[in-house]
Symmetry: C2
Subunit: 277 residues, 2 copies
């Protein structure tokens, strides 16, 4: 779950997601966009339950679902079998090309292909920069008409009738830098990813296996710790979050140690933990 | 989950069932038959995850699935989307007529229709009676050839060459009485059910609403406490278990009180609790 001040973006939805959301007090009503990377069960078996629960709870807002095309058929087959109609509008956006799939005044989301056993997509989230804020105290010293305020928020300088320039940063305050998040879903080690998520503030990259298992990882279209770290380093990201650990390992200590040896600013993605970007 | 000494029978499978099974230490490997009453999500959304997990854990035994016909299509669409083949044999048995759907040397299972918003089935489980046990001590006093032992186990008396009758119960011990369990899934109040589950040791009947809500219950094809109790009484069952309580109620106290007022030997079906038959 990616959360901004106003919105929640759900990225993949394994079985039991709605129970986990209840446990961690994440409001379903704040989700307007759901992104499904690929159709392996651990990434979407919880979706149909979430969609039908939203309807039982009388959701009214539209819900946008960005996912591989076949998911639309799977959902509708299950709704038809239950003779159920959702009480809200579910807008399905099939993933087909690498492009911007969502752009509003707050965020831009781009999808890109990862290399997995089946059709699989990563997502790049870029906050849009908020307009500059007008400094209510300092603007009092100048005679600037209110009609020019919108241009001030966009960064323009004001020029008085006499030709005096009032520099924008004298009367406005810059909004915080927008944040970026890259989610690489499930993937084999693939240097093509570097360009897609270059320089992000936070990169999620899977690390299913410990190092030394590169052959097995490649055969199953997954990555190892050092491979995730190598992508993070080549892409000069600020921070790396690794996850999707194989259930065969009892402890995760080695995952963190092996990863930080290559890329120090890394953390383990642990269920229920919140990571600030 | 219905458990006998050797086997587990899974009856319906809502989202998160496999997590609950892990929590309550129920072995997936003891399940060879799964029964799905109808295709509303709270009764089957956890099935696909369970089936695929069984495959990830390298199950080899056949698995029998008894369910409404459309479920086969839903499962195969999801397996195809994941490009996954189960590593064990999944044998699908579509529910179509009221009849015996499973009969082996341990149990007989019969399906019957309930009245719900969509096609819905109940199940009647009848243990088969074990053969009588030969009393090793007492048989020593008689000269009975070992070739007659099988007939003794079936209850036959032995007649000696001289014509003396050795009554069966002198040398054998009866096996415990076989048990019966009736599961009525989701249903409106329907007196046709009485004949289907008459005299069972344990009856599960839904009680979605408290009494006084009979009109609402009927409109949604569900039952109230007193309706469940009335069916139990008319069917002269030994014990009643009520469940499927609407989430709108905060406490379950009234459910039990209203039910036992009509049918005293009743209990609430509570998650994680084991009921002996």
């Amino acid at each position: 779950m990616l959360q901004t001040q106003e919105d929640s973006y759900l990225i993949d939805c394994g079985e039991g997601t709605q129970m986990q959301m209840a446990k961690y007090k994440i409001r379903r009503s704040h989700i307007n966009h759901i992104f499904i990377s690929h159709l392996h069960g651990d990434h979407y078996f919880g979706l149909i339950g979430l969609l039908t629960s939203m309807s039982l709870l009388n959701r009214t807002q539209d819900l946008h679902l960005h996912a591989p095309p076949l998911l639309e058929k799977i959902i509708h087959l299950q709704l038809d079998a239950a003779n159920t109609q959702l009480c809200y509008k579910l807008l399905f956006h099939p993933l087909a090309d690498e492009k911007v799939i969502l752009s509003d005044n707050k965020i831009e989301v781009r999808c890109f292909k990862t290399q997995h056993r089946i059709d699989c997509w990563g997502f790049l989230f870029k906050q849009k920069r908020n307009p500059r804020k007008i400094d209510a105290e300092r603007i009092k010293s100048f005679e600037i008409p209110a009609s020019f305020y919108e241009k001030l928020q966009k960064g323009e300088d004001y020029v008085t009738r006499k030709g005096t320039i009032i520099p924008n940063d004298e009367v406005t305050i810059a909004a915080p830098l927008p944040k970026t998040y890259g989610y690489c879903a499930d993937t084999i080690y693939d240097e093509n990813l570097v360009g897609k998520i270059y320089g992000v503030d936070l990169l999620y990259h899977e690390a299913t296996y410990l190092k030394g298992n590169e052959t097995k990882a490649a055969a199953r279209f997954h990555s190892t710790t050092v491979q995730a770290a190598a992508i993070a380093e080549k892409a000069a990201v600020k921070k790396l979050l690794i996850g999707h650990f194989s259930a065969k390992y009892e402890s995760l200590e080695d995952f963190l140690a092996e990863t930080t040896a290559v890329f120090p600013n890394a953390e383990l993605a642990i269920q229920g933990v919140c990571y600030n970007i």
